[in-house]
Amino acid sequence: MVAACQLESVRKTYGDGAGVVNALEGVSLVIQPREFTVLAGPSGSGKTTLLNLIGCLDQPSAGSVFVDGQNTSGMSSRQLAALRADRIGFVFQSFNLVPVLTAAENVEMALHLSGKKWGDVRDRARAMLASVGLDGMHARYPNQLSGGQQQRVAIARALVKEPALVIADEPTANLDSHTGEEVLALVRRLNEEKGATFVCSTHDAMVMSRARRVVTLRDGHIVSDEERA
């Protein structure tokens, strides 16, 4: 079975000369399909940097990153974009919905950009919104939705194209704890029902307690990688 994602001795540095920052150093990690992995670690430990590499938004300074079996090193910006469009879904801390598009259009956008043919894009987007509990909200604009609802739209947008990997960078950080728990429950349910692979960063203990696997980063190194029951 092809790993959803695999990192081999990855290093990522920012800047140059005296101001160089080693955001990641010697990171190796394999994430299997259907896994629900949480990246933990204090602020500045390299979580976002790692997620950006897995999500093909960026490329490592050294080492290699495989996503869905493909080596991203040496890919052009166009190839990376195509890989993201097809195989990777994103959920952001501050939702990042396109404000001039409705909930349904935000979800449809992901389908339009992906390289595949989806049949009736509208129906598919609405069905996806219904499955994240937003039945009847498809015509609303982001500013007409609560934070929790916006994050559900973002999750629908990430999952609608059936990606190999869903990347969520601190998805509950901008939500109150109750809403955060609901959103996390939704993510867990989708992980089980749809078999979607999730990599999720957080420093929220509640989120970590729900994970099967917690990878902890500190100063750009993986300091622990534990499976939980």
Binding site: F92, N96, P99, L101
Partner: protein, 409 residues
């Protein structure tokens, strides 16, 4: 499809900013179209007035005939030989003779120098149409009926139809002569060359006054075709028939100085339009740039969703182009409406001509602008082109942002 929707909605996101750059494009296109329509109208007006009121298409006059204001020497008058008459009959649509002179017109205590126009009552109208004339009384058919006085002259001398007007001149031989003649009518010709100073005197009476013995100062001709080449060709032949002591002057030569000024006006207008268009280009570039800066995180999101650089480029380019297309279209539509209105509803220039003291500029006091579709096409293309070019750099900046940095913003 959804990309077009997104681009269209983005344009409406910052209404104030978009409106400002729209206004800039609208003003730019409008100044080009309306400005040139007025200049073209002025040009047509000058040419038509010259032909219809002053000289016809070409005039035969004594050598070195002066073209200063209110100067009509009578020391080199001539007669139309039968040969020339025959040739003119066959070569023109109409021709007539005029005897121009500068008498002192006297009524009661008042006297002023006027432009005496000795005209042939039978032939004059065929060369100098009277469609725009408003006459109180009537146009005299012979010297016995008296003279036709221009409105300003009548006002200055308090003349009314039926009054007696005294005209005093130096005759062709240099003696002083004066005659009293009745006012048959008062004319307003909508043309300052006539209205400010003319007194139309039937040829027999003018001849008597000047003791001209059948000589005249001008042979004015009207051709079927006013086209410059046709008039030039005619003028060359006319000169050959006109003899060595006379010259031919065409409407082109007579309007040359005024039309040179017009060309300078046209250049000045193009410079103004250039400045306005540069301003709208900066407005649009700024709008697209601000849009890109405001939406860095959104660009990052779209890139994360897999949007290619070229699609981001297209998205922002579209924003600028939409502004250009909408602005140019509105500008062209408004200007076409304005221009169309003033092609049928003239603008009355008499007040401003009076103020400028334009004693005898041969232009009609009613200005009808001239609609030329080429300016509309040019303005639209120019507006859209400028908007597109102005959007390229900011759109490229948006497209080339590193997605990882953009989503972090």
């Amino acid at each position: 499809m959804i990309l077009i929707k997104l681009a269209a909605r983005n344009v409406r996101r910052n209404v104030v900013r978009s409106s400002l750059s729209l206004v800039a494009v609208i003003v730019g296109t409008m100044s080009l179209i309306v400005g040139h329509a007025f200049l073209a109208g002025l040009r047509v007006n000058v040419i038509r007035s010259q032909i219809d009121v002053v000289s016809g298409d070409a005039v035969l006059q004594p050598l070195d005939y002066p073209d200063e204001r209110l100067t009509h020497p009578v020391d080199a008058l001539f007669t139309v030989e039968p040969d020339l008459a025959t040739w003119l009959d066959s070569s023109t649509q109409a021709w007539t003779t005029r005897l121009m002179f500068v008498p002192t017109a006297i009524h009661g205590p008042d006297s002023i120098r006027v432009r005496g126009i000795g005209f042939d009552p039978a032939r004059d109208e065929a060369v100098f149409p009277r469609d725009a004339w408003k006459v109180v009384g009537h146009v005299p058919k012979s010297g016995a009926e008296g003279v036709l006085v221009a409105s300003s002259v009548a006002r200055l001398l308090s003349l009314h139809e039926g009054d007696q007007l005294t005209m005093q001149v130096r005759t062709a031989a240099g003696a002083i002569n004066a005659l009293q003649m009745p006012v048959a009518g008062i004319v307003a010709a909508s043309n300052p060359w006539v209205d400010r100073s003319a007194v139309f005197v039937p040829m027999d009476l003018a001849d008597n006054l000047l003791q001209a013995h059948g000589t005249i100062s001008h042979v004015a001709t009207r051709l079927a075709d006013h086209d410059e080449e046709a008039v030039d060709a005619f003028a060359t032949a006319f000169k050959a028939h006109g003899g060595a002591t006379r010259e031919v002057s065409t409407w082109m030569a007579q309007t040359h100085d005024i039309l040179e000024i017009d060309k300078m006006r046209s250049k000045a207008l193009n410079m103004l339009v250039g400045v306005l268009m540069a301003m709208s280009a900066m407005g649009i570039a700024n709008t697209v740039l601000m849009a890109a800066y405001e939406r860095i995180r959104e660009i990052g999101t779209l890139r994360a969703l897999g949007m290619a650089e070229s699609q981001v480029l297209a998205l922002f380019l579209t924003e600028g182009v939409v502004l250009g297309v909408v602005g140019s279209t509105i500008g062209c539509a408004i200007s076409t409406a304005i221009v169309m209105y003033f092609t049928t509803h003239g603008i009355d220039l008499s007040a401003s001509i009076d103020r400028s003291g334009g004693m005898s500029i041969p232009i009609s006091t009613m200005l009808y602008v001239a609609y030329e579709s080429k300016w509309v096409v040019l303005a639209w293309t120019f507006g859209v082109g400028i908007a597109t070019i102005a959007s390229v750099l900011p759109a490229r900046m948006a497209a080339r942002m590193a997605p990882a940095d953009a989503v972090r913003a």
